[in-house]
Symmetry: C2
Subunit: 397 residues, 2 copies
C-alpha cells in the first residue's frame, strides 16, 4: 500500500528526500528551510542542498527576504511554484464532460465543463470531444506558464488495475475501452481511474482545515453507488482494481433482483435511479439525485420517505463495511452529499445499532460527514492525482 | 500499511539493507551471495559486507564449501541460523492454552499445549498458567541454543491498536485486560493480537508451495466468527485496531437478534454456537465445530443442512467483503477448514451469484480455499510474528 518503495541506493535516497521536501512544502507551506529540516528530521545543510535543486528545477519558489541561490536568510519562506508542472484532470460523466488544470499549489487554473449526453455514444466520439476540451484548457494554462505533467481521467466504471482500460462502464455503455492512443498524448503520463476512487482522493487531498482521517470509506452516487476505501492515506485497489463495490453489498439477500445478477444489492435500494423512482421521479438526463434536493427542502413526504429508506439501506451496507474495515470516518460525497440533512440520520442510526457494540462497546459510532467538495470531488481528485507523480518523483538534478 | 518506513539516513539505509538480505535468505534460502545480489539488485561487494555482519551476529550461517570469514567461495550457501533469536508464540483459547517456539528457519522447536477451561476464570489465573508454560517451552529452546526475541499472544477478542490491552474478549469474559507486567517479561517485546489476525499472518507466512496471494480475506470460527483482511502482505488493522469483524456483517438485516445489539449478523447464522445448535448439538467444552465433522462425514442430514445453511450465510457476508475489498483469495481457516467439503460449495455458490458480474463479468469468482494450517494458524502466526521484528530490524553491527 506504500506509495513509494523504500530506497536502496544513494541515488534513490536523494530522490526520496527531494520528494519529501517537496511534499512538505506543498502540504504545509509556506515553510522556511529550518521548518522543513525540523519536520523531516534532516540536517539544515542537507535541506539546503535539496531545496536549491528544487528551486533550480522551478518546483519551489522563495518568498520574503532571500533570493534563489543565496544560502537562505531566516526570513525566507518556501512555496510551491505557481508555474511549471501542472496536473490535468478530466471527468467523463453520463451527462457531462469536464477538465481542469491544477498547479503545484493545488489551485485550479483552468476549468472547462460541458453538458454531454454520453450514454450509448461511441467511445471515440466522446473521447474526441474530451480531447478538444483538454487542448483548450491546457492552452489557457500554457499562457500562464504551466506545462502538463500528467493526465488523469475519471470514469464511471471499472478500470483494470495498472492499465488505462475501462473494463465496464454500464451507464456509458462501454466495455473494454482502452484510452491509450485515443486521447492526445501531449499531456504526460495517462492514468484512468474509477470516479469514486478519485472522489476519495480528492477528499484526502482537499486540504480542508480539519483534514479527513487517513483511513475512511467514501461513498457517492450519481446513477449507481460508487465507493472507495482509503487506508493509511492510500487507496485500496484490490487484487484486480475492483475494490469499493459497496453498491453490490447484499442488504436484503433475497430482495430485489439487481442488474448484476445478484439480489437485494444496496444499489437496488439506494442507487440514484432507485431513489428517484421511489420518490415518484423518472430518472434521466437532467433528472438526477440533485433534483431530489428541492423536493426534500419542500418537505414532500414521498421524497422524504424515499431518501429515508435509501439511508436505511445505505446504513446497513455501511455497517458491514465499518465492521470489516474499522475506518476513521465515513464521507458521503457526490450528489449524495446534498441530500445529507435527510439521508444521514438513518445512516447514522443503523451504524449506531449495528457497529458500536461489535467494536467492543466504544462509546461513539464512526463519524459520518457530507463531503464539502460534493460533485467536484472526482474532477479535483483527478487533477491532484495527475500532479502527484511530480511530487513523488520530482525531476530535479 | 508499509512494514517499514522508508529510510532517510545512511544508518537507516544500512539497517534496511541488512533486513532485506536476511529476509531474502529466510524466504528463499539456501542462497549464495550472488543469488542475494541478483534478487535485491545490490552489488556483490555490498552484499558481502552485509552478509559478513549477519554471520557475525549469528543470524545467518554458511553451508557448503566456504567458511564464515572467508570471502565466500561460489559453492557457499547461506541459511538462516537454527540457533540464536527465536520467536515465542502463545494462544489463549476458550478451552486451551498453547505456546510454541520457532527459529529463524520457521521450524517449531518447542511446543506445549494444555486443555484449560478459561471461560470466566480470572485473567491473572489464566496468565499465570500461561507464564509457566512459556518458561518451560523457552527452557527447552535454551537447551538447543535459542533465545527469545519477542513474545506474541493470540487472544479471541478485540485488542486496542498498538497496545497490549484486550478491550473485550466475551468468550473468555475479559474486559480491559492489560497483559503488560502480568506475563513474565524475559521473552522480549510483547505483542497481543487478535487470533484471527494472527491466523491470517500464519497463512501469509506459511511458506506453502503455492503461497497465498498477498491480498486475501481469512475467515475462521471457534465460537464466534473471526476474520482478518490482508492487503499487499500487510494486515489491515483499522483506525482503532478493530478491522475484520465479518461476524457482525448484517446478512438478514431484520433477522435474529445478535449479542452485539444488532440483528441478523453473520455470527447468528454461521458462528460455531449457531451451527452446532442448528445441527442439534449443545455447544460447550469439548463440543466445538470439530465435533461436527464426524457428523458430516457420517452423512447425517441435520448436520449437513446446518453446515449448508451456515455456508450460505457466510457466502452472503463474504460477497459483501469481496465486492468491497476485491481480494485475491478467500481462505477459510481454523475449525471451519475441516468442514470445507460441506461448507465451501454454498459459499462458492453465493460468491459466484453475487460478485462476478459486479466485478465486470470477470470469468471466475474469487478462489475459496481451506487453510492447510487449520486450527494451528493463530499459534504459528503468533510465533512467526514474534520473530519478524528480528527480520525487520536485525541487530548486527
Amino acid at each position: 500500500m506504500a506509495a513509494q518503495p523504500a530506497p536502496a541506493s544513494q541515488a534513490a535516497l536523494r530522490q526520496h528526500n527531494l520528494s519529501r521536501v517537496l511534499h512538505a512544502v506543498v502540504e504545509a507551506g509556506p515553510l522556511s528551510r529550518a521548518d522543513v529540516a525540523t519536520r523531516l528530521g534532516l540536517t539544515r545543510a542537507a535541506v539546503s542542498t535539496l531545496v536549491e535543486a528544487l528551486l533550480r528545477a522551478g518546483l519551489l519558489v522563495e518568498h520574503g527576504l532571500g533570493r534563489s541561490g543565496s544560502v537562505g536568510r531566516p526570513g525566507t519562506q518556501l512555496l510551491p511554484s505557481d508555474r511549471g508542472p501542472c496536473g490535468v484532470g478530466a471527468e467523463i460523466g453520463v451527462d457531462h464532460l469536464a477538465v481542469c488544470v491544477m498547479d503545484l499549489r493545488g489551485q485550479v487554473r483552468a476549468r472547462i465543463s460541458h453538458e454531454s449526453r454520453n450514454q450509448g455514444v461511441a467511445p471515440e466520439t466522446v473521447l474526441a470531444r474530451l480531447g478538444g476540451m483538454l487542448r483548450r484548457a491546457t492552452g489557457q494554462a500554457a499562457a500562464v506558464g504551466l506545462r502538463p505533467a500528467g493526465l488523469t481521467v475519471a470514469v464511471p466504471g471499472l478500470v483494470v488495475r495498472d492499465t488505462a482500460t475501462v473494463l465496464r462502464a454500464p451507464n456509458l455503455g462501454w466495455r473494454d475501452v482502452d484510452l491509450v492512443g485515443v486521447l492526445p498524448e501531449e499531456f504526460g503520463p495517462l492514468t484512468v481511474e474509477n470516479e469514486a476512487n478519485l472522489g476519495a482522493l480528492g477528499e484526502l487531498w482537499s486540504g480542508r482545515p480539519s483534514p479527513a482521517p487517513s483511513s475512511f470509506v467514501h461513498v457517492s452516487a450519481e446513477i449507481g453507488i460508487g465507493a472507495a476505501v482509503v487506508v493509511d492515506g492510500e487507496l485500496l485497489r484490490g487484487a484486480h482494481g475492483f475494490a469499493g463495490e459497496l453498491g453490490h453489498m447484499p442488504v436484503r439477500p433475497e430482495g430485489r433482483p439487481c442488474s448484476c445478477g445478484g439480489r437485494g444489492c444496496l444499489e437496488t435500494y439506494a442507487g440514484a435511479e432507485a431513489v428517484l423512482r421511489a420518490a415518484g421521479l423518472e430518472p434521466g438526463p437532467g433528472v438526477r439525485l440533485g433534483a431530489l434536493t428541492a423536493h426534500c427542502e419542500a418537505g414532500e413526504p414521498v421524497a422524504l420517505r424515499a431518501v429515508r429508506q435509501a439511508g436505511t439501506a445505505l446504513g446497513i451496507a455501511l455497517s458491514g463495511a465499518v465492521n470489516l474495515l474499522d475506518p476513521g470516518e465515513v464521507v458521503v460525497g457526490g450528489a449524495l452529499a446534498r441530500l445529507g440533512p435527510w439521508l444521514l440520520p438513518p445512516v447514522r442510526r443503523e451504524l449506531a445499532r449495528r457497529t458500536t457494540a461489535a467494536a467492543g462497546g466504544r462509546a461513539t459510532p464512526v463519524p459520518v460527514t457530507a463531503s464539502p467538495l460534493g460533485p467536484d470531488g472526482p474532477l479535483l481528485g483527478a487533477a491532484r492525482h495527475a500532479i502527484r507523480a511530480t511530487l513523488d518523483a520530482p525531476n530535479a538534478s
